[in-house]
Subunit: 898 residues, 2 copies
C-alpha cells in the first residue's frame, strides 16, 4: 500500500529535502530542518499524490488516507503534549499548501484550526491570556470563514472596524479580550447569514474543511494564471502541510519574522529580513504593518538573535544556497516555520553564485546553474539616465531593481487594458494581493504604499524581474477618486510616473533611460574594473563559456551591431539580412528602379549602383567580426516589399482622379500595374528567397560580387574575413545547385582579379519542411545549414505569424490547445522533429556539416537547450541576447550530460 | 570486356526482344524477328551504353567499339553477298536510332550510306536501273547533307523543284536518271557552298558521320521536348541500328509500307495500313504522297500479301500485342524492316485488350496493364453534339478521335501564344514535322492537308490523345497569307474551326459539344447494351476492380455530382467541401450576415437560417451515396472569402465619395472596417480550417447538427447513411480534441432527440507538415486520416499555388530545378516522405486507422501508385476521374506486387 502522509518534527521524520515531488518544497524542507535537529513545530505532509488523486477522482480522497492523517495527528499531539479538540490542553493546527515549485502567496492557508467555544477556554486556562486567545479565535473564524466558507474578507473587516469605532480604538491591539469574544460572536452570525449554516465547531470537521479548501485553491484562477506565467504544469499538484500552531502574538516576548541569509536584491553577504513583535506571520507577509529590520532583534532579543544567526549559517551551509526562512518566537522560544531557496534578482543571483564559489561552498558549474538565463535580461535592461532631469516626489523600499515609466493605474484590470492598447502602465496599490498578479505581469513597474522587502509585491515583482518600489509610506492612495496624493501634489490616473527599483525613488513624468551598467561597460563607456556587477557578470559568463558546447553567434546587419555583439561575446555572425541594407533612404529609390526597370539595361544600371553600397555594408560587418565567421544571407523578401502598398496606391489614384490631376493619375497607374504584377495572395509562400535568385540571378550575382570584393579588399588590408554565403528558402537541392554554381563563378572571378584566395563557404537555410525532409540531398551541395525556425514554424504549423499572433494564438494558449507561443519557444514535438530529421540526414551525407540556428529561438533558453540536445554547432541571436544565449548554452550542457 | 555491338539477321543473332534497355526497341525487335526466321535486312545494333558513354566522355566512343563495328559489317556483307564500298557489288546501309522507349519521328536517320561516284556505277550494273540508282544517290546526298552536314532541307528542295520546272515535270517520277545525276551534282555543289568542304565520298567516313549525327540527334531541342512531354529520362540514351538497305523504289515490283495488325483507332480486328509502290519508307511516314490501303496489295501482289498476312499473324501471336510493322518489297522479295508495339487510341486499347483476353492470347491482368490510365480521359472527353447545327466544309482521315474547336493557327509558335492567353487553338499544317510537336501539344486539335493514318501528325496526335484530322486534300493552305481556302471559302488565322477526329469532319465555327458516349451511358441517356465501347470499357474496368487494392471515392458536394461519381464507380465520398454550399445566391447574404453580425444574437440568427439549408445539402449527398461512406469536411476557408474584396470596396468607396453619395460611402466604409479586420497577409496560413472551429464553435456546431439531423432523417426513412465528419487543417491534436468533444455532444444530442443510432466517424485531414510529424498523437483522437496533398504540398514546399504556378514554376520546370509541377504529380521525395511518416505514425497508434487522399493528386496515375505503395485505403478524386483512378489503382497493384 502506498504512503500518503509523512511525519516531521522531533523523533522520527519520514521525509527529507530530496522528496520535493512528493512532499512539495515546504514539506521537504520542514522535514530536512527536523532532520538537522532544528526546532520546527511538529506536523505532517499530505503528499502531492493525494492532490492528483483528488482531481482525478471527482474530489475524493484515496482509501486509507484518513487513517494515516489520524495516526500522524496523534504523533503531533505526543510531541506537543497537547490534544486536538481537548478542552483542557488543546492543540491548534495549521493547514498550508506546498507545491514542488514555489508559488508564493498563490494558494490558501488556514491557521488556528481546533478552536471552538470549548477548546478556547482550555487555551485561556493554559496561557492565562484571554485577549490573545480570543484574538486567535477571531482570526480563525475570519480566515476559515473566508477561505473555507467563502464569505468575503470585507464582511469581517467591517465588523472589526465597527467594534473599533464603538470602542474609539485606532489599533486592533487596543481592543480587549471581551471585545474579541464579542467579535467572534458577530463573525459567526455573519457566517450563518451567508451560508445558512452554523459555523463548524467540531475540530475534526474544521480540519477536513481546511484540507479540502487548500487543495481546491490549486485550481483557482489566480493560481492557474501564475502557473501559466511561470510555465508550471497544471498536473503537478500541491502537497499540504498540517502543522502544530505556535504563536508570535502571545505578547511582547513573542514575535514572528522572515529572513534571507543574504541580500536578495543586491547579493551582498548580509542577513536580511524583518520581524514584528506580537504578531502572526501573515502580518509580515501581507505587508499590513511595516516591520523592523532583522538586526534590531539583536538588541530586542539577543539570545534568540544568536540562535537565529547560528541556524541561518547552519542551514545555508547545509543547502549551499541562500535560504528564505520564516520563524516564530512564542514566549521566548524560537520555532523555525520554513526554509526555502531564496528568490533573488539577477544581480544578486550572479554575485551570490560567484561569492559562493570563492567561499568554497559550490563549484563553478553549480554557480552557473544558479543564474536563470531569462533573468539576465534584468541587468541588460535600460536604466534611468542619472543626468536626466528628474523630480523625485517620494522614496520607498528598493524592492526589485529596474527602471520603469508608465501611466498610473490603480487596478489590475486597468493595467491589462492599457497593455492591450500598447501603453506602459505603473500599477499603484496600497498593498498587492494574489488578485493583482495578472496586472503586475503586464505593468512596467509596481509601486505600493505598504509592505516590506518580503511583502507580496516585492517577492512577486522580483520573481517576474519587474521593477518595484514598495512600502512608500508618503503615498496617500484614493482608489475611489482614482488618484494619488504626495504632500501637496495630486497625480491622477493616466499621468506618468517613473520608478527606480534600484534606489526606491518615485519620480514625476517620464524620465529618460540609458544603457544598463553592463551594456555601458561593453560599449566602453565605463572601465570594467570600475563596475563591480560587470566583474561578477564577466566571471560567471566566462565559467559558462567553459561549460557550453554550443557556439554563440549573433544576428547583425551593421558594423555597429556586429561590434556590440562581439563585445557581448558573440563568436561570429549567424545571420546578416542583406535586405535591411536595401531600405536606406538613398537606397530604396535605386532598389525600386531595379524592380520597375523596363528592360535589362535599366535593371543592370540600378544593380550596378547598388554594388558599391553593398560592398561597404559587407566590409563593415566583416571587419567587426574579423577572423570570425560571418554568414550573409542573400536577398530574401519578395520584391513587392520594396514598393508602395497596393491599397495606398489605389487610394492615391482615386484621389488624383478626384482632383482631375490626370498626369499624376497616370503615373500612379503605371506604378499600380507593376505592383499588381508583383502582388501575391500569400507572399510568405510566394516569389521570394532563392526563387528570386533563380529567376533574377543578376541581383544575387551582385550581392556575391559585393561579398567577394569586400572580403578581398579586407584581406589585402591585412584582415582575415571569413564570409559564409547563405541561400535562403531552399526547398529542392537543385535550387541551391544553380545558385551555388553561378556564385562560385562570381567568387572565382573576383578572387582571380584581385589575386586573393578567400576562405569562404556556401550553404543554405533550412526553413521549409521539404528542406528538412530532403536534407540528405541538400547537404550534397551545402557546406553549412542554418535553421530558420521562424519560417520553419510558420510552414510546419501553417501559421502566418503576421496574422495569427493577434487573431487566434491568444485563444489557443488560453484554451490550452498550445502550451506556449511556438514562435517564442521552439515546438520540440513538431518543428523540432523536422529539425532533428534534417540534422540527421544532413550529417549522413556530410558528417562534418556545420549546423546552426538563426531564428529568434536562438536567444530563448528552452530553445537553446533543444539546439544543444540535437547537436547543433551554434545558436545565433540578437546582440543583447548573446549573454543570455551563452548562459543558456551552459545550462543546456549541464542539464543534458551525455 | 563489355560488348558494344549486336548482330541480327540470317545465322546467329545476338539479341532478342527482352534486351530493349541495351538494344533499344527497334534493335531488340529486329533481333526477335530474325530469331523468328523472318527475313529482315541483316545489320547490327550499337548499344545504348555507347550513347551514354558518348555523352559522358566528351562525344567519344569506347575503346574496341570501332573494331566491333567493322567485324559486324563484314557479317552483313557475308549475308547480303555484297561489299560496303565495292564498286562491283556495293552494299548500301542505313543508320537509324532506336531508344528503349519509342520516340516516333523525333530522331534522325540516314539511308543509302555507301553511295559515291564509284559505287554508284557498280549498283547500276547490278540493278540495270540507272534512274533508280541515281534517285537513291540524290536522296542520299540530300539526307546526309541535311542530317549530318546541317544544310537546310529547303536548299535541296529548291534544286529539285528547279529541275522539275526545267523539265516541265509535276512529279519526281517524271525525272530521268540523267536528271537525277545532274541533281546530285548540283546538290554536292550546294553542300560545298555551305560547308566549304567537298561532300564526303569515302563510305567509311559516311558511316561514322552518320553514326555521330544520329547519336547527336538524341540531344536536339525537339527530342528533349518530346522526352519532357512523355516523361522519358534524358540519360536513357538511344541505341543505333546499322542495317543493309533494301529498296522499295527499284520499280513497279517494289513497294514499301507500314501496317498495324489491328485498327489502332477503333481497335477492330482488321489489318490496317498503307503502302506505296516504287517508294522508300520515308515517303509513307512523312505523308508526302497519299498511300494505298493495305488491302489493295492483295490485288496488286497476292503472293506477297499472303506472306505478309502470315507474318502479321505470326508476329502478333508471338508478341501477344498489336504490332506496328514496316516492310519493303524489293523486286518481288519481302523484307520486314521493323516491328513494334502499335500505339493506339484509348478506345482501341480497351477493345484490343478485351478481345485478346477473349481470344485467349493474354490474361485479364495483362489486358488491364495494356490500357494507360491517362489515355482513358479520351473516351470520357466531351464530343460534338450530333444535334448541333454544323457546317461541314471538308473531310479528311479520322486520324485521332475526339472533338476539338479552336482558333485557326498555322505555326507551332502561334499555337503556343494562344495557349498562353488561355485560348483554344486548332493547328493547321500542310504536313507536320517534329518541329511542330510543342505546338501540337498545346492545341485542341490538329488538321493536316497531307499524310495518312500513319503520318507524323496522326501518330503523334494519337500518342498525345489529341484530336486529329489528317490528309484533308481539299484544303489549300497559304502560310504566307495566313489563311486556308476550301473551295470558295477563305478562313483566316484566328477564326474558329471545329474538328471531329472520330469522323474526319472539318466544320466552320464552334460546334456545341456533349458528353462522351460512355458518360451518356453512365448518365442513363443510352442503354449499356446499345454501346459497344461502354461494354468493353465496363468489362475492362471490372477486371481492374478485381485487381486493385485501393478503394476509389470521389470529391463531390452535390447530389448530382455524387450520383454521377457513384455511377462512374466511386465507392463513397472522400471529400465534400461544405463551403461550396455557402456560395449559393440565396445563401451568401446569410453567410455574410453571420460574419458581420454585431453581436452573438445576430450571429446565431444567421446560423439558424443556414442550418436547414445545410441539412438538405447533406441529405442529398448522403442519399446519393446511400450505404457508402461520405466524408464531410467542416468549413475550411477563411471567412473573408465570403465578403467582397477589399480592393474593390476601396474603389467603390472612392467612387461614392467622388459622387458625393455620403450615405453609400458610409455603408461601404462600415463593410470596409469588417473586411479590414478579417484581412490577412497570408490567408493560406491564417484564420481558417479548424482554427475557425476553435474560435467560432457555433458554425461547426451548426454543421455537425445538420449532418446529424440529415443522417437521422434518412435512417428513419429506411436509408443507410454513413457520415464521416472531417476536421480540416489540424496541426495539433488538441485542436481536434476540442472540436471532437463538442461535435460528439451535438451528435449525441440529435441522436437522442431523434431516437436513432448512427454509424459515423470523426477524423481529420492531414495537410500540415506538423500533422504528419505528430500523426501518432493526432491518431489518438482521429478515427480516420485524409491527406490533403494540395495544402501539404503548399506547406512542405512553401509554395502558394495561387502565386507560384504562373510566376516561377514554369521557370523551375524549364531549368529542371523541379522535374514536374508538384501540384500535378505528388512529390514523392519530399511531400511523399511526410505522407509516409504520417501513415506509419498514425497506424502505430491506431493500427486499423482508415487513411485516404483527397487532394487533386487522387486522380493522377503516378500519385495513385504512390498511394498504393504507402498502403492507403483509398483515393478520392473528381467524378470524371473515378474511372482513371480505378484503372490507375489496378496498374499500381500490378506494378508493385508485394
Amino acid at each position: 500500500m502506498s504512503k500518503f502522509v509523512y511525519f516531521f518534527g522531533k523523533g522520527k521524520t519520514d521525509g527529507n529535502k530530496d522528496m520535493r515531488d512528493t512532499l512539495g518544497g515546504k514539506g521537504a524542507n520542514l522535514a530536512e530542518l527536523a532532520n538537522l535537529e532544528i526546532d520546527v513545530p511538529p506536523g505532517f505532509t499530505i503528499s502531492t499524490d493525494v492532490c492528483r488523486y483528488y482531481y482525478k477522482n471527482n474530489k475524493s480522497y484515496p482509501d486509507g488516507m484518513k487513517a494515516e492523517v489520524e495516526e500522524n495527528l496523534h504523533k503531533v499531539e505526543d510531541v506537543m503534549g497537547s490534544k486536538f479538540g481537548s478542552s483542557d490542553n488543546p492543540l491548534l493546527i495549521s493547514v498550508r499548501s506546498g507545491a514542488a515549485v514555489s508559488m508564493p502567496g498563490m494558494m490558501d492557508t488556514v491557521l488556528n484550526i481546533g478552536l471552538n467555544d470549548s477548546t478556547v477556554t482550555g487555551l485561556v486556562k493554559k496561557t492565562n491570556n484571554e485577549r490573545f486567545v480570543y484574538d486567535c479565535y477571531r482570526r480563525f473564524v475570519q480566515m476559515y470563514g473566508n477561505v473555507v466558507l467563502k464569505v468575503s474578507h470585507d464582511e469581517f473587516e467591517k465588523i472589526l472596524e465597527e467594534k473599533k469605532k464603538e470602542r474609539g480604538a485606532k489599533l486592533d491591539t487596543e481592543l480587549s479580550g471581551d471585545d474579541m469574544k464579542e467579535i467572534v460572536a458577530r463573525y459567526k452570525r455573519k457566517v450563518k447569514e451567508f451560508t445558512n449554516k452554523d459555523f463548524p465547531d467540531e475540530p475534526e470537521e474544521q480540519l477536513w474543511g481546511a484540507i479540502s479548501a487548500v487543495f481546491e485553491s490549486w485550481d483557482t484562477e489566480r493560481a492557474i494564471s501564475y502557473r501559466k506565467l511561470h510555465k508550471i504544469p497544471d498536473d503537478l499538484g500541491t502537497a499540504l502541510n498540517v502543522q502544530a500552531m505556535v504563536f508570535g502574538n502571545t505578547g511582547e516576548s513573542s514575535a514572528t519574522g522572515v529572513a534571507f541569509t543574504r541580500n536578495a536584491a543586491t547579493g551582498e553577504k548580509q542577513r536580511y529580513g524583518e520581524y514584528l513583535v506580537n504578531a502572526q506571520g501573515e502580518d509580515v507577509v501581507a505587508g499590513i504593518r511595516t516591520p523592523h529590520p532583522i538586526k534590531d532583534l539583536e538588541r530586542d532579543m539577543p539570545d534568540i538573535y544568536r540562535q537565529l544567526v547560528s541556524i541561518f549559517d547552519n542551514v545555508e551551509r547545509h543547502y549551499k544556497d541562500v535560504q528564505d526562512m520564516e520563524f516564530t518566537i512564542e514566549n521566548g522560544k524560537l520555532w523555525m516555520l520554513q526554509t526555502r531557496t531564496g528568490k533573488r534578482t539577477a544581480q544578486a543571483a550572479i554575485k551570490i553564485a560567484v561569492d559562493m564559489v570563492e567561499e568554497g561552498l559550490i563549484d563553478k558549474a553549480t554557480a552557473v546553474s544558479r543564474v536563470d538565463p531569462t533573468q539576465l535580461d534584468q541587468i541588460l535592461h535600460k536604466m534611468f539616465d542619472p543626468k536626466a532631469k528628474k523630480e523625485v516626489i517620494a522614496s520607498g523600499l528598493n524592492a526589485s531593481p529596474g527602471a520603469a515609466a508608465g501611466k498610473v493605474v490603480f487596478t489590475s484590470n486597468d493595467a491589462i487594458a492599457l497593455h492591450e492598447r500598447g501603453e506602459p502602465a505603473v500599477l499603484v496599490r496600497i498593498e498587492t494581493s494574489p488578485d493583482d498578479v495578472a496586472g503586475m505581469a503586464v505593468s512596467e513597474g509596481i509601486l505600493t504604499a505598504r509592505g516590506g522587502m518580503t511583502s507580496h509585491a516585492a517577492v512577486v515583482a522580483r520573481g517576474m524581474g519587474k521593477c518595484c518600489v514598495a512600502g512608500c509610506g508618503a503615498l496617500d492612495i484614493d482608489y475611489g477618486k482614482e488618484e494619488l496624493r504626495v504632500g501637496p501634489r495630486t497625480i491622477k490616473k493616466g499621468e506618468f510616473l517613473s520608478l527606480n527599483g534600484t534606489t526606491g525613488e518615485v519620480m514625476l513624468g517620464r524620465v529618460e533611460t540609458i544603457d544598463s551598467e553592463i551594456t555601458r561597460v561593453v560599449k566602453g563607456k565605463i572601465k570594467p574594473d570600475e563596475s563591480e556587477i560587470y566583474q561578477y557578470y564577466s566571471k560567471l559568463l566566462s565559467w559558462a563559456d567553459e561549460i557550453r558546447k554550443l557556439g554563440v553567434r549573433t544576428n547583425a546587419d551593421t558594423f555597429h551591431d556586429a561590434k556590440l555583439a562581439r563585445d557581448f561575446g558573440a563568436e561570429g555572425i549567424g545571420l546578416a539580412r542583406t535586405e535591411h541594407m536595401f531600405f536606406g533612404e538613398e537606397r530604396l529609390p535605386v532598389v525600386q528602379k531595379m524592380i520597375l526597370a523596363k528592360d535589362e539595361k535599366e535593371r543592370q544600371e540600378a544593380i550596378d549602383k547598388l554594388l558599391p553600397m553593398q560592398r561597404e555594408d559587407f566590409k563593415g560587418i566583416l571587419l567587426a567580426m574579423d577572423g570570425l565567421p560571418v554568414i550573409i544571407r542573400l536577398l530574401d523578401p519578395p520584391l513587392h516589399e520594396f514598393l508602395p502598398k497596393y491599397e495606398e496606391l489605389l487610394v492615391e489614384f482615386a484621389e488624383a482622379r478626384r482632383q482631375d490631376d490626370s498626369a499624376k493619375a497616370e503615373r500612379i497607374d503605371g506604378m499600380l500595374t507593376s505592383v499588381r504584377r508583383l502582388k501575391e495572395f500569400n507572399p510568405m509562400l510566394g516569389h521570394r528567397g532563392c526563387r528570386l535568385g533563380v529567376t533574377f540571378p543578376a541581383i544575387y550575382k551582385m550581392q556575391v560580387q559585393a561579398i567577394a570584393e569586400a572580403s578581398c579588399e579586407l584581406k589585402l588590408e591585412g584582415h582575415n574575413p571569413k564570409p559564409e554565403i547563405m541561400v535562403p528558402l531552399v526547398g529542392h537541392v537543385n535550387e541551391l545547385k544553380v545558385i551555388k554554381e553561378y556564385s562560385l563563378e562570381v567568387m572565382n572571378k573576383v578572387m582571380e582579379e584581385k589575386g586573393v584566395k578567400l576562405d569562404f563557404m556556401i550553404g543554405t537555410m533550412i526553413e521549409l519542411p521539404r528542406a528538412a525532409i530532403t536534407a540528405d540531398e541538400i547537404a550534397s551541395e551545402a557546406e553549412f545549414f542554418s535553421y530558420g525556425t521562424n519560417d520553419l514554424t510558420q510552414m510546419t504549423f501553417g501559421f502566418s505569424r503576421d496574422d495569427i499572433e493577434e487573431k487566434f494564438l491568444p485563444v489557443y494558449i488560453d484554451k490550452k490547445i498550445l502550451p506556449v507561443n511556438p514562435f517564442a519557444i521552439l515546438d520540440r514535438n513538431g518543428v523540432g522533429k523536422l529539425v532533428e530529421i534534417g540534422i540527421k540526414k544532413g550529417r549522413e551525407t556530410k558528417h562534418n556539416l556545420e549546423v546552426g540556428i538563426c531564428g529568434e529561438h536562438g536567444g530563448e533558453p528552452s530553445s537553446v537547450e533543444f539546439c544543444h540536445i540535437v547537436n547543433m554547432d551554434y545558436v545565433s541571436c540578437s546582440p543583447y541576447r548573446v549573454p543570455i544565449a551563452r548562459l543558456s548554452a551552459a545550462h543546456a550542457a549541464l542539464h543534458n550530460k551525455k
